[in-house]
Point group: D2
Amino acid sequence: MPASLDNAAASLLARYKAVRNATATLCRPLSPEDMMVQSCPEASPVKWHLAHTSWFFETFVLSEFLAGYTPFHPDFRWLFNSYYNSLGEMPEKKLRSSFSRPPLDLILSYRASVDAGIERLLQHTVEDEAARRIALGIEHEQQHQELIATDVKHALFTNPLHPPYIEDASPAQGTTIAPPLEWIDFSPGLTEIGLTPDPNAIDCFAFDNETPRHPVYIAPYRLASRLVTCAEYLAFLDQNGYNRPELWLSEGWTAIRSEGWQAPLYWQRDSETKSGWSIYTLHGLIPLEDLSETPVCHLSFFEADAYARWTGYRLPTEFEWEYAAREAAPGARSNLLDTGSLHPTPAGHLSGLQQIFGDVWEWTASPYTGYPGYAPLPGALGEYNGKFMSSQMVLRGGSCVTPASHIRATYRNFFSPATRWQFSGLRLAR
Amino acid sequence: MPASLDNAAASLLARYKAVRNATATLCRPLSPEDMMVQSCPEASPVKWHLAHTSWFFETFVLSEFLAGYTPFHPDFRWLFNSYYNSLGEMPEKKLRSSFSRPPLDLILSYRASVDAGIERLLQHTVEDEAARRIALGIEHEQQHQELIATDVKHALFTNPLHPPYIEDASPAQGTTIAPPLEWIDFSPGLTEIGLTPDPNAIDCFAFDNETPRHPVYIAPYRLASRLVTCAEYLAFLDQNGYNRPELWLSEGWTAIRSEGWQAPLYWQRDSETKSGWSIYTLHGLIPLEDLSETPVCHLSFFEADAYARWTGYRLPTEFEWEYAAREAAPGARSNLLDTGSLHPTPAGHLSGLQQIFGDVWEWTASPYTGYPGYAPLPGALGEYNGKFMSSQMVLRGGSCVTPASHIRATYRNFFSPATRWQFSGLRLAR
Amino acid sequence: MPASLDNAAASLLARYKAVRNATATLCRPLSPEDMMVQSCPEASPVKWHLAHTSWFFETFVLSEFLAGYTPFHPDFRWLFNSYYNSLGEMPEKKLRSSFSRPPLDLILSYRASVDAGIERLLQHTVEDEAARRIALGIEHEQQHQELIATDVKHALFTNPLHPPYIEDASPAQGTTIAPPLEWIDFSPGLTEIGLTPDPNAIDCFAFDNETPRHPVYIAPYRLASRLVTCAEYLAFLDQNGYNRPELWLSEGWTAIRSEGWQAPLYWQRDSETKSGWSIYTLHGLIPLEDLSETPVCHLSFFEADAYARWTGYRLPTEFEWEYAAREAAPGARSNLLDTGSLHPTPAGHLSGLQQIFGDVWEWTASPYTGYPGYAPLPGALGEYNGKFMSSQMVLRGGSCVTPASHIRATYRNFFSPATRWQFSGLRLAR
Amino acid sequence: MPASLDNAAASLLARYKAVRNATATLCRPLSPEDMMVQSCPEASPVKWHLAHTSWFFETFVLSEFLAGYTPFHPDFRWLFNSYYNSLGEMPEKKLRSSFSRPPLDLILSYRASVDAGIERLLQHTVEDEAARRIALGIEHEQQHQELIATDVKHALFTNPLHPPYIEDASPAQGTTIAPPLEWIDFSPGLTEIGLTPDPNAIDCFAFDNETPRHPVYIAPYRLASRLVTCAEYLAFLDQNGYNRPELWLSEGWTAIRSEGWQAPLYWQRDSETKSGWSIYTLHGLIPLEDLSETPVCHLSFFEADAYARWTGYRLPTEFEWEYAAREAAPGARSNLLDTGSLHPTPAGHLSGLQQIFGDVWEWTASPYTGYPGYAPLPGALGEYNGKFMSSQMVLRGGSCVTPASHIRATYRNFFSPATRWQFSGLRLAR
């Protein structure tokens, strides 16, 4: 590395390389055939993720900021556009499963070529906007790492053989007993939610939907010390929870009727286990007994909400969650992608709030909208977050397949309330 | 009326009779055949509305509080249940169009019989809960008056002949020019939203979703002095607004593509008018020219939101709206159902906020959720509002088919963001 | 009637009046509200049938052959067009349920006006084409009589109250035992199928799809002496017939799975009857026990075919059926609309073929296609039959709601193989 | 090869090997990724075809006739079952696109293992039923060769890049002008259709749906000497054929409206060509000009039928076709899979019937039903053909992707009338 290299650029490049490598590591257990599968409308083939994340850097960074850059392939600009209408036409999402060509080899060359471009660009100090875009691209790549893990899980489960993603790894199962649920008190008052990035602090990243920081009044509330477990959720099933309309939002009741849901996604009836259920994980099918103390996962908002109503409690708002998490940060105990567990694990026997970061995304009671004064990024990047602000609910805290350096207390994830393919669960509030 | 009659009961009875009569008045132009039509999934046949509003009083009042009451017909209890799962099975909504039997005559007898029951009950002081239920039933009946007007409009428009509801009435059209749009300033601060009913004040009605009153912090904002007009909205059309994806929420863009929307509901291409459009009203088809200064109506949330984005402004939140309206009340100038205009009318040339109540429901930027500490009513009545708190947006202010005594500043209406069959429009904020 | 009146015209007029009166008789038990219901995609409201049959005479006869005729209403020409694209645009079929206007009274005036026109036209000898069109219109009206009975049955059944069409009539039920099934032998050979109408014989009517008469070779076969009964079909149910894929055509298996069919249309589970079933008829719900010897009815082709396969036999081809029926004619014993039974009745204890005409339409193994040399009528009337010659199966023999003067041995009815709303059953062949 | 080897067995083995090799040859241009794509409900991934054809031999031959045979993999028996309900549950068809595991390598081992088993079995004389099953399996494999070519074409076309299957091959395009269409006369009479296989002649194969041979009376008719060309079909387009309802069957009109069809499948609007159209072929996109004399291809029955009606002629029945073809046989001039052209080619300038075998499957006017006396094969193999005998039309003659040794005059192909993904076109009759 040349001595002339700027420190900020060097640090950005190091982070870039680390994150790009992490994507490659995630794909190691997959064959080119595995990377073709697209098993539900939410998902994309892994090969597409590999191409699209490179497309993002090429389109928003290299094409604009690297002098003399020639696009890797003339068709890729529209072929691997996901949803940026401002950039022109793109293929329908469902067609991605037909992308046998370009072959994986060419996509890997594409990645290498983009990597070389970014490296060239970061040999020298870059202008702020380029650096901001690269930082955004890195976060974007991390989001797609989570999507890869999520989509692969669904793809392999859809295969009638239910093959595991990792054959020999031992899962996050065991004899640990989750600690008793405790209630943590929070006082009422006016607080500040979200953050307004310091334009001079390039490493303090936030998505536009986390901004601006703004005052919110919060009434007194209590938050459960840990996530709801499979054993607790099984009691809801056993008490006929899926057949009692008074526990469900009207839209949720319609959804579980029309979809025929009687349990979380990935729970399978299994006459050979004690509970009658096994759960598909990235390590294969595991009897529910062996996972009963782990956080329940792959719930829709409707299921999380109905469970909470059944207990007599409720889901927290996203403000309540953020207020409680404001002083926490992902730590060594946080079960995020970097632990390699690839499945939620039981809470520890500690005092205070547990499992705030990692394990499962926590459904909140808050619909996804813009904060007061919210303004999307200018240009095509304005389509990144803002145009999805309807009919979705906010989730907080990251999951066991979220990269550790990607999550923070102000981070807002969002999905339609019927979505279950994410690693999503819940924490109770009252 | 016997001297022994309690004042509160007497006043409740008077209000009951007035509201029930208003329903009958609304149906006067309709034949039994008209009352059979159910032309979209949101709508019900008018005959069903007549029965269901009576069912509400019978089920929640007479059966519980009138000693010795015998239900009018053994089947009606399940036949005219709308969506109260706690009360048992009910027919699918779409089957209501097959209710040729019971005939209208029998439904009218049912109404008369329920009326007699309520009158009997209110001969004497009634217990508080009965009075509260009757008050709720009155508000419920008023909601169905609005639904009758709305459903009839859709039914008659669906008929390829597009017959008017009122043949000879002159519509709210004319040469009035809407005043220029002005911006009203509001200061930031903590305010109180919603209301907590005084348990002793029987005549201060509120739905559970307006409660409890709670503090909300509001940032500084400005509100438009009047509603957006047809002429203003036409400019959005003429500037290709329906074909520019960057103006739309992603879900909205999908909706207008799949539905083929290129204008508000009830706007029809018409080669003979200057603008090329006519608008169907309860008075029949009217050239857009004659309605250009009236508030634009029958927009989905997506269209209201896209229009606002196109102007560079935005929709207000429901809190901003309520804060601005908190000292207003429906008045003689308010274009509500009682005026008989049955269509939005132009704003007057006055200073300050215009058209807060009546004309059109105003889409807000707020998803419909429970207020902090919200608790649904106990029992089956808890299904009235609470179970719809997902994937809907709040509308405020009432419309030209809302009864005047039914609306207030804290009132929250709510519909799915793709809904257009309501009299719904918008006011800008910034 | 003036002395100058031509015999043929007089006889045509008499037939016209009789058939038009029969329609009115059929509608007598129905209210204007009943005549609004359209309860499935196959059906139309009765009011529409009344208008459309008049439209047919107005469009194809009066407008072309009655000098100086002015259409009753300028909109009716397109409003009551069913499916004749050659005549221009028409409303979508499903919109017919919104035709509360024109009111029934106006439709009845329309009928009277058309009747007066036809009467005026037939005061004198008319040209051959006019006479042919009137004859076609009469047959058309008779088809709609059957449709009225069929649609009303579905409409009243769809009403959750299941009201009967005729309250007090006693149904075709009883203690009669159906005779044992016998097999009638037929010899192989070349025969003539269909008929070529004699252009000079105005009273020998045939639809274009019955023409031309043409040679067909028929292999030796045997035909069951009577129709399959409810008791026989119940055995198929009890032997798990609806859950054995090997008995079903692939398309039929898909249909019964996706529709959830486990019995014929109008069979309802009923815990209080011996067999566990009741059957809805135009006389209301009747325990299966009381109808067990009557022909099974409201089967799709798929169910008729699966039943036949289960018995080891098969459905006859339409040629085998016509060959067997060629010397028969509807008689006093035929259970057609004119008997007023409105439901299939048990076969008599007689020798030879029974129940050839009436009771139920008999599904055949023959797809509906044009005969060799088939040519549709010229002009818009060519759309009457020919354009439906794909993906439908032929049914023969008429049903208990077919007018007696409408049916004959060469008559071909046709429906999609999944259709069950018709009075359709089966006879076995081998 | 041991001297003891029976001649019939040896000849069967030689044929087996040749056909299995032909499948491998067909797959040579495809990557494992290409073999994953399933781009429409009719299609399957190529990898699945490779597995399923082996499954057929394993299930119906090796498991029953090879002593001591152990299935290659315990899951394959249900995993690669296509539609044989008698053999138990199987995965839904659409799940086949998730079969990234087993990997292609394992499928190829499966093929090799089944090949070894068949070779072992055929070392000695086998019993008749085993030989018949192997012969059936060979024909089955050939059907799947056609499906592979057909499915790959659709898969590559669905890819927005439209890559060719064969990059460098020159297509069947050129300057040849198709000869003028001539009419060949056929006399009326009783003829024999189909064939009854000689149980002793093992090499005279026929599917059960071609049997039994039976008499049919045929009226006089004329058949076009060659297939309809792209140039001729383009005239139909240019004359607005897709927008004239009177040319279409009702079901066809609905289909083209709801699907938005305005041209055959694989025709693409192309502003740079003279005609405004290019056609996608297995050799990539080619201007229509260069293919104008080739037979039009990838039509639904509805389009073939509408085109014929527009010309004033009609489609032949399958009997007319077979009667004309009865003395023909696939020859050196027949454009079948073995020529490697992979696209229809222009007719030659010869007298008599041209293009009877190969080029395109010819839609006939005949719905697909069983011949008189038809009996499916016993057991699970009875599901091969018989259960599809509803709502489908017969096609005759094979296409440019049908193996030459697979087709014959009595061969009946069948598809739903809306199917266009096959190489299907038409020949006129009158």
